[in-house]
């Protein structure tokens, strides 16, 4: 059987709609988590996701200048830059976390983005958990 990467997708409900209402991806390997704002994501959420067995994380944030809470999207980006170093030190490549800034209130683009992310995760292969 082929390797099926486990992906967790956090999406801002203002910029990307309510993911649960989507007709989109229903695979068991994709976990969709709508959040109030991407800036509400704490570094510990991403660490826990990897600790619990995810292979990658996709964050869907609002476009620049369109954050409902002024600068939550930018805060998420700053948090990510620091977190990447922590993840890398534990053997988690930077490519395993991706953040996308766009406005897509009906979430039409989400299935495509998930497929893209899963493909790049599949190319990376399973996560080496020796240091986790």
């Amino acid at each position: 059987m082929g390797y099926e990467p486990k992906l967790v997708c956090f999406s801002c409900k203002f910029g990307w709609g309510y993911l649960r209402d989507l007709d989109g991806p229903k695979e068991a390997s994709v976990f969709l988590i709508p959040v109030e704002c991407s800036g509400k994501l704490d570094a510990i959420h991403l660490l826990k996701v990897f600790k619990e067995g995810a292979d990658g994380v996709l964050i869907l944030a609002c476009e620049e200048g369109h954050c409902h809470f002024q600068e939550g999207n930018f805060r998420a980006l700053k948090m990510l830059y620091l977190l990447e170093e922590v993840l890398w030190a534990h053997g988690i490549q930077k490519e395993r976390v991706r953040i996308a800034f766009s406005l897509d209130p009906e979430g039409r683009g989400i299935p495509d983005r998930i497929v893209q992310m899963k493909n790049s995760l599949a190319a990376l292969g399973p996560l080496d958990r020796a240091l986790l």
Partner: protein, 330 residues
């Protein structure tokens, strides 16, 4: 008058700084010696582990245990102490959270052994021999403790009743801890015998913090600047772990113009101080949407070493169940 309560002060993987902190009780040590009988203290007095083995179950009132668990000897002694002491106090940052030596968790066991015993410039080891737990030599079996695959905090190996953090722990907290045990005035088990507030709340520089704390531009390290001895480090753009660290240390670093490095561990309720600090730092950094956040973040040299300097084994990614090096990785 009844018999004096017996105590043990013991080190596992430790530098001896915690034992030094006990010595720093100065005259207070005489009071302690008056009230209790010190039955084991390998650093200061001539005791062997056999002394410990000869005690009955729960015969010792309290064991002050410093240091992390990295090899099978540490593990064995930790279990011996647990069995013979009614109360175990994890003394110092290594016992509470793993401490600085736990930065080695970011490197595999094999790599460490290879570097130390084969590749280091001063080592000549053409056969690539590594230390073995058992070696046959002239008809005898020589035994060495087994080097584990990970550095563990004490409470990941045995149950610990109370914690006194600090690198080293302030003598005042040690004295209060011993007094609390002797007078049976103890908080619920599992408590840390230190204040519950964050360091910022007791820091003298807190009043200089602007109403809206913001860090502009690159992060600076303490040796790169001449820091003002009065002003909040974060307001000056110098990283200080104060907001994510428990107070009780007496702000000794701050008083000598060194920012907090986080040896007292997280405030109550927080399991991963590093990630909390990342989140708060992300909020504090004002690089502006037109600025380059990556360049500012890159100005922090070794963020992992900074964020998890003392707490790696108890952090989200570093936490691991105890397993021997010879056991298979799950």
């Amino acid at each position: 008058m009844g018999e004096k309560p017996k105590i043990a002060i013991c080190w596992l993987g430790a530098c001896g700084g915690c034992d030094e902190a006990v010595v720093d009780l100065n005259e207070g040590l005489l009071e302690v010696a008056e009230a209790v009988s010190i039955e084991l203290w390998p650093v200061a007095m001539d005791f062997k582990y056999d002394h410990l083995r000869n005690f009955g179950k729960n015969e010792l009132a309290v064991g002050l245990v410093s240091g992390h668990v990295r090899n099978s000897e540490h593990e064995e002694v930790a279990h011996l102490l647990r069995e013979r002491c009614r109360i175990i106090i994890g003394l110092g940052t290594c016992a509470c959270f793993g401490g600085t030596p736990a930065m080695a968790n970011l490197i595999s066991r094999e790599e460490i052994l290879d570097t130390v015993y084969v590749k280091a410039p001063s080592v000549v080891n053409p056969l690539g021999k590594l230390p073995q737990p058992e070696t046959e030599w002239e008809g005898e079996t020589l035994v060495l403790p087994e080097f584990m695959d990970h550095v563990y905090a004490l409470n990941q190996v045995i149950s610990v009743d109370y914690f006194i953090p600090g690198c080293p722990p302030p003598p005042e907290l040690i004295k209060n801890g011993i007094r609390a045990v002797l007078t049976d005035d103890l908080p619920p088990k599992g408590s840390t015998l230190a204040p519950r507030k964050a360091l910022c709340e007791t820091c003298a520089r807190n009043k200089t913090k602007p109403i809206r704390l913001e860090i502009h531009g690159p992060i600076r390290r303490i040796h790169e600047v001449e820091a003002d001895p009065e002003i909040c480090f974060l307001a000056e753009g110098i990283l200080c772990m104060g907001p994510a660290t428990r107070t009780g240390c007496g702000e000794t670093c701050i008083k000598t113009n060194i920012p907090c490095r986080g040896c007292f561990g997280p405030t109550p309720g927080i399991t991963d101080p590093g990630s909390r600090f990342i989140s708060s730092l992300a909020a504090l950094l004002k690089v502006g949407t037109t600025g380059d956040p990556e360049a500012v973040m890159a100005s922090i040299g070794d963020p992992v070493g900074y964020l998890y300097r003392f707490t790696h084994p108890v952090s989200t990614l570093g936490e691991r169940c105890l397993r021997k090096a010879t056991e298979e990785t799950p």
